[in-house]
Amino acid sequence: MRVARLFGILQKKRGDRRSGSALSGFVGEIAFFLLVLILGMVSLGFLLFAPDESLGFWLLLLVVVSLLVIGGGGLLLAYIHYGISPERHRAITQKRPALDLLKENVLSSDRFPSIPSDTAIIDSPGTRLRYRLPRFESAFWPMLAASLFSLSWLAVTVTLLVTVVNSVLNAQPYWLFSTMLLGSIVVTNWATRYCYRQVRHFTRVGTTMMEISHHPLIPGSSCEGFFLQSGSMKLRSLRISLVCEEQATYRQGTDLRIETHHAFKQKIVSLENHDLRSDRVLEHEFQFAIPESVMHSFRGEHNQVQWKLVVRGKPESHPRFTRSFLLIVHPRNPAREAG
C-alpha cells in the first residue's frame, strides 16, 4: 500500500492515491454510513409513532427512506470493498466475453477483449467501399449548446430590460438592474455572434464521409479509402492524416483531466483549392497502411489507444474544421498466422 508521507492540504490528490491507511478510511466510511442509518431508523420511529402534523407525511417518508437506503447501501458497499481484494472484485464484476461457440454473432470485442466494439462500422455499409466509418464528434451538439446558451442570455436580457424600462417609467430606476442589463447585453452580443458562427459553420461545411475497404485492420496491412466532402465554400486546403493517439484520463481531486499524446501521425492526403457547391462535392480515393509493430486499438476505463483518420479543412472565409473517424486496429497474431 502506498501512502503519501507529505502532502499539501490545499493540493488535490491524483486518482486513488491515499494520504491515510485503508483501515482508517474503512472505519471512517463505516462510521459515517452507520450514523446515517441510525438517523434514518430514529426518524422512522418518530414518523410512525409520534408523527408531526405540521410537516407532510409523504415528504418525511421520502427523507427517511433516503436516509435508510444511503446508510444501508453505503454500509454494504463499504464492507464489500474492504472485505475482498481488488482482483477478486474485478473478477466478479468484469464483463465476461461470450464463450458460447454456438452463438451466431460473436462480437469481435468478445474475441478481442479491451478492443472497442466495431458494431458501428459493420452495421454501416459504404456507397463506394465496403464500410463507412463513424464520426468521432458531431458539430450538431456544439451548435445546440451555443444556441441554448445564447437563447438563455437573451431571455435574461429581455427580462432585465422590461424590469429596467418599467422602473424608469415609474420614476424609480433600479441602478443595480441597469448595471446588470449592460453586462447582460455584452454577454448576449458575444453569445449570439458565437451561435451564428456555429450555425454558419454547421450549414456551410456540410457532410464529411469516409469509407474504407477492409475491417478490422491489422499492423502491416494496407487499405483503400474514399473521402467525400459536401458543403458550400471555397476550400483553401484539406489534409487527411492517419493518427494513433494515446489518451489518459485521470482525476485530480474533483477535476477530471484528459491528456493525449500522438504516438503516430502520417499525412496521407493533401488537397489544395477546391470550390464546393451544392451540385459539386469533393471526392477523393486514397490508400493508407498501418505500420508494423504498432499498438492495436485499446479501450480501458481510464486509458485508451485510438486509431483514426483525421480530416482538417481550411476554408477561405470560414474557421478551420476538423473531423475524425474511428478505425479499429486488431493485434497481429504470429502464432495464428504461422498455423
Binding site: 481488488p86 482482483e87 478481442f112 494515446e246 499498438m295 485499446f298 481510464h302
Partner: protein, 131 residues
Amino acid sequence: MDPLVSIMLCDPHRLYQPGQRMRCSYQIDAIAAEAIQAVEASVLWITSGKGDEDMGIHEFHRRVSDDENPDLRALHEFETSLPNSPLSFDGTILKLHWLVRVKVFQEKGPAYTQDLPFQLGTLAVFMEEAS
C-alpha cells in the same frame, strides 16, 4: 516478516503470444501454514502512466485454508490460454503490463502481494523485474 512467494512460468523468457497456453506454478515459504487464511492467484493486466490505473483479470483462483487444503504453502500449478488482446505495450503516457499476481492473506497483518511480469505479444515493452 513477509512470507516468501516464488512464482514460476513455463517459459523462462516470459514471452508469450496471444492464444498460447501458459503454465504457472507458485509456492509459499517463510510462513506457518496456519498463519495463511487464503491465497489468490491471478493472471491480469494493469496500466500505468499518466492516467488512473485500469485492470483486467484474465484468470482468477482463490484457495482458502480448510480441511481439503490445510497447507496452502505447497507448490500449486495452474494453466491458462492467454487472450488475443490487449498486448503488452510501452507507450509514452500509457503502459500496459501483463503479470501473474499471487496474494497471500495472513491471519494477522496485511495481505502480501508478489507479482511476476511477462510479455504478451511482440511489441516493444518495458519489462520490470518482479517486485
